[in-house]
Amino acid sequence: MKLLSRTLLKIASLKLAALAGLLVLGATATAMAQNPRIQTSQLDGLTAKASETVDVNIDESLMALTMKFLGNDDDEKKVKELVSGLKGIYVKSFEFESEGQYTEADLESIRSQLRNPAWSRIINARSKKDGSIEVYLMHTGSQISGLAVLATELKEITVINIVGPVDLEKLTQLEGEFGIPELGLGGTKPKRKN
């Protein structure tokens, strides 16, 4: 009898532990699902093949600093308005000497994160000549909480991740600031390096 009750107790505690584990896993998954910061470290392997790699990380504290200390002339006021509320700007780009240096599998490491239901793709433009550009927004409730851009050309990959309330218009105005390259989203032709 004692053995039976001990066994039942053991099973009950195992079930509880499993339930607790599932709850923790679920909470982690939800947190990850709602995190507008995307991971780009999976692309680091391309550094060895790239002719140039640029990695810009402007985190929340630096964004706050920029907001607080930029001046009050018209230009800086405009930038302050643009970055107001932003919690981070992250840019990673690779340029290659020749074509075929990266594969779809490399890009999949980014796309798989953006396939999460929290993200919605608002632009998907593809051209054989000019490459492709995908723009994604993350909504948290009715608010936009993040933006991601995956721009590829035959010899170039650019990943932009902006954390915070940002939309396409803001992104367009931020081109050329804080390490964000000219993407030509505002109708202007993107800047090309020689």
């Binding site: 060895a48 002719s51 790699t53 640029v54 990695d55 402007i58 930029l70 001046g71 930038v79 600031e177």
Partner: protein, 181 residues
């Protein structure tokens, strides 16, 4: 009497600990050492540059005197040059980058640029230091390298942040040229 001697001895002991604490936090020295070990090079001190009659010697000498810079806080500039040495080691960018990240634990990597084609690397790290920011800029080219550490006011840092691609160059030029006197 015994008590005051004990207090004095304790004070002396504490004072003697200060340089050790500072040395432990000398990330500038650690980065210079890392470059020396990684690339098997040696940085030049001010006397060497002075003997060589290089323009930079005057620059460095004046930096240590602390004339007011346009961007960096006066007297805060630390510079180490590696002149006419071999930094061509194209296969080890990732290794060097991770070593830098390890040495500069607690600093935020703002921008990291590697150009194997031009054999150039630029790294900028930031750290809050009270009301100022410590900024470390490491530039490596095929035959020379430069490590610069400056203190920046938040206002200057905020301005430079708008163009991180140019930030390293701007800080290095500000720290190593003296044409405003």
């Amino acid at each position: 009497m015994k008590k005051s001697i004990a207090i004095s001895l304790t004070a002396l002991a504490l004072l003697s600990l200060v340089p050790v604490t500072q040395a432990k936090d000398d990330r500038f020295g650690d980065v210079v050492k890392l470059i020396e070990q990684f690339y098997h090079v040696k940085h030049q001190g001010i006397p060497f540059l002075a003997r060589a009659g290089l323009k930079t010697a005057t620059t460095v000498a004046r930096i240590s005197g602390g004339p007011r810079r346009q961007i960096a806080e006066a007297g805060s500039v630390k510079v180490a040059f590696f002149d006419d040495q071999d930094f061509r080691s194209t296969s080890s960018y990732a290794g060097f980058k991770s070593s830098m990240n390890a040495v500069l634990t607690g600093w935020s990597p703002l921008i990291q640029v590697t150009s194997p084609k031009e054999e150039e690397q630029t790294y900028i790290y930031l750290r809050e230091a009270g009301e100022k920011f410590n900024v470390m800029v490491v530039t490596i080219e095929p035959r020379e390298a430069c490590v610069v550490q400056v203190n920046l006011s938040p206002a200057n840092l905020a301005k430079l942040m708008r163009n991180p691609d140019e930030m390293g160059n701007t800080i290095t030029v500000d720290a190593t040229t003296n044409d405003r006197e």
